[in-house]
């Protein structure tokens, strides 16, 4: 065992250094939230009670709303991210279940037909006949879907896509630069706003966007968790003529609880921290925490104690999430999802 001891020592050193580097910024923001103004403007201070006398003033100011609305963004962040996480984990798990237990066959030609009808139809309706954007898009969506579902049942030549391709289609949404879909969604929401329901800076608008944003993660992760759930119990239930939805909610979901928790945590973290969609789709009332945070440094300058309180409020729930996931990781739960 002596041969590797040099590497062992190097590994230990590296791990320790990284530990210090990971922890220090979080420690610094934590103590800064308790600093009185003087402890910031005099130069860096590190240790409470030694370098400075800690105070809760910054927290009191923040919650009293003395320095701008704080509770609003916290409330909207909590509401939006919990609702969107619940929806995308539910819908994502259903989709993952379908992908694990059934086979899908989609003809490439039918998919291409969909794209052609959708784009061509929109140019025709909106560009040439001048139909309003939301109506044109909705009409095109329905027609293109109907035609390609029908086309898929024909014996068309060309490659046939299977379940893995459907999963890849979901995951590939993550390859898109988010500015592309965020900006497109902003344009669409403002068009819809002109003819009726207000989606920009609204709860439904944000929840819709974030549910779609979280779905690729949910489908991808839950597919792995569900494929390790044994199929025999379900088959027995099918023989007893119990409906698929009762099987799903009554048998499959309870067996997949650890996977559901892990997936929810990951999706929640992504939605809670998301910045670009919130920046584009909100203007005031439904502004989320990351947008508020981003505005801090220009509006606050060097009021680090206030900035730190804001940062801490955004960090605290994620510390809990990371701890839960760290525990789950130790039990080897997440190792399946790398394949």
């Amino acid at each position: 065992m002596t041969e590797g001891s040099g590497f062992r020592r190097a590994g230990l050193l590296l791990a320790f250094l990284w530990f210090v580097l990971s922890i220090f910024p979080i420690y610094f923001v934590f103590v800064t939230a308790f600093k009185p103004p003087l402890a910031v403007s005099r130069g860096p201070t590190y240790i409470p009670w030694v370098d400075f006398q800690p105070t809760l003033q910054a927290f009191r100011d923040a919650f009293a709303g003395l320095r701008g609305d704080f509770r609003g963004p916290v409330v909207s962040s909590v509401l939006v991210s919990l609702t969107a996480t619940a929806l995308s984990v539910l819908l994502g798990t259903m989709a993952a279940y379908a992908l694990v237990r059934f086979t899908f066959r989609i003809r490439l030609l039918a998919g291409l037909l969909f794209a052609v009808i959708a784009i061509g139809g929109f140019v025709l309706l909106n560009g040439i006949w001048g139909m309003r954007v939301p109506y044109a898009l909705a009409l095109v969506l329905v027609v293109a879907l109907a035609v390609s579902v029908w086309a898929n049942s024909l014996r068309l030549p060309g490659p046939v896509l299977g379940n893995n391709d459907v999963t890849f289609w979901f995951v590939s949404q993550r390859i898109f630069p988010p500015i592309v879909s965020a900006f497109a969604l902003f344009l669409l929401y403002s068009e819809i706003g002109r003819i009726g329901p207000r989606l920009l800076d609204s709860f439904p608008g944000l929840v819709l966007a974030y549910t779609a944003f979280g779905l690729p993660f949910a489908v991808w992760l839950m597919r792995d968790f569900l494929s390790s759930v044994p199929v025999e119990v379900e088959e027995a239930a099918l023989v007893d003529d119990i409906g698929r939805f009762r099987i799903f909610f009554g048998i499959v979901l309870p067996m997949a609880v650890p996977g559901l928790i892990a997936t929810s945590m990951i999706v929640l973290a992504f939605i809670w921290n998301e910045f670009l969609f919130a920046l584009l789709l909100t203007t005031g009332r439904w502004q989320t925490l990351p947008v508020l945070l981003a505005g801090q440094q220009s509006s606050r300058g060097d009021e680090w104690w206030a900035i730190s309180v804001a940062a801490l409020i955004s960090i605290a729930p994620m510390v809990v999430v990371a701890t839960i996931l760290g525990r789950m990781m130790r039990s080897g739960l997440l190792s399946g999802s790398i394949k």
Binding site: F19, P25, R174, I179, V180, F183, L280, Q297, A322, L334
Partner: protein
Amino acid sequence: MSAGLSQDRIKHAFLWPAFLLVLAISLFPLIYALIVSFQSVRLVPPLPPRFVGFDNYAEILQSARFWGSMRVTATITLASVALQYVLGFALALALHHNVPGASLYRVTFLLPMFLAPVGVALIARMIFHPFLGPVNDLFTTLGFGHVEFLTRAGPAIAVLVTIEVWQWTPFVTLLMLAGLQSLPHEVFEAAKVDDISPWRRFWDITFPMLLPLSVAVVFIRLVEGFKVIDTVFVLTGGGPGTATETLTLFAYNEGFKKFNLGMTSALSFTFLFVVIVFGTIYLALAQRLVRRVT
């Protein structure tokens, strides 16, 4: 799985809600944005949209600011992903061989990647502050001068790379650790019996066996890194001048500071095109590499 199950029509009820939502929210607006990218649309002053063909795209390709933002994005992404991979893999090896305190490290290592990039950037602003920040405090103690980290182009990019590395190295560690744990023990036992040094064991066995996973991990990080905006937005706002402006930030500024919607749409599609081209090249090269090594 029996054939009877897969014919079940109910499967559509499970898949379609998710499928429709992603289609309607993530993909369908793109059609509209694609049309807008061929138009001249300005909100201020409000002019009716006018079809301009490829003018927006031509203007982008001729704009020095676009190529600048390409360079900044590529520099930050390539530098930080290279560092993330080397550090992350090394840390995974250390954790895999159970250094003392490994279980404590696991939770703390996870933490950075769950923090909002915006929040991390705010913290970085304090830590790299020219006079009040700990880094310059350390530099002065060690006898170096003050560094104006955020107001000069070179150091600002270095700080952005540091943040990316700080936040996303754990992601590499997490996946590489899972990969290490899935390797068969027998091969390593045999190599130990044959008295092969740990250094050679790594390069001859561990590294080639984990190459496919490495390719995937680096790909994910490259794609994600290319999207960077949050940290830049808070840390430098793209400054000084446009020296640290990334592609996403550039597209955002065109649309929301200049209200030039056609231009932003064209930019985001150019961006998408760049990602697809580089992604394809990367995957083709990586596949060849994997085939040669294994």
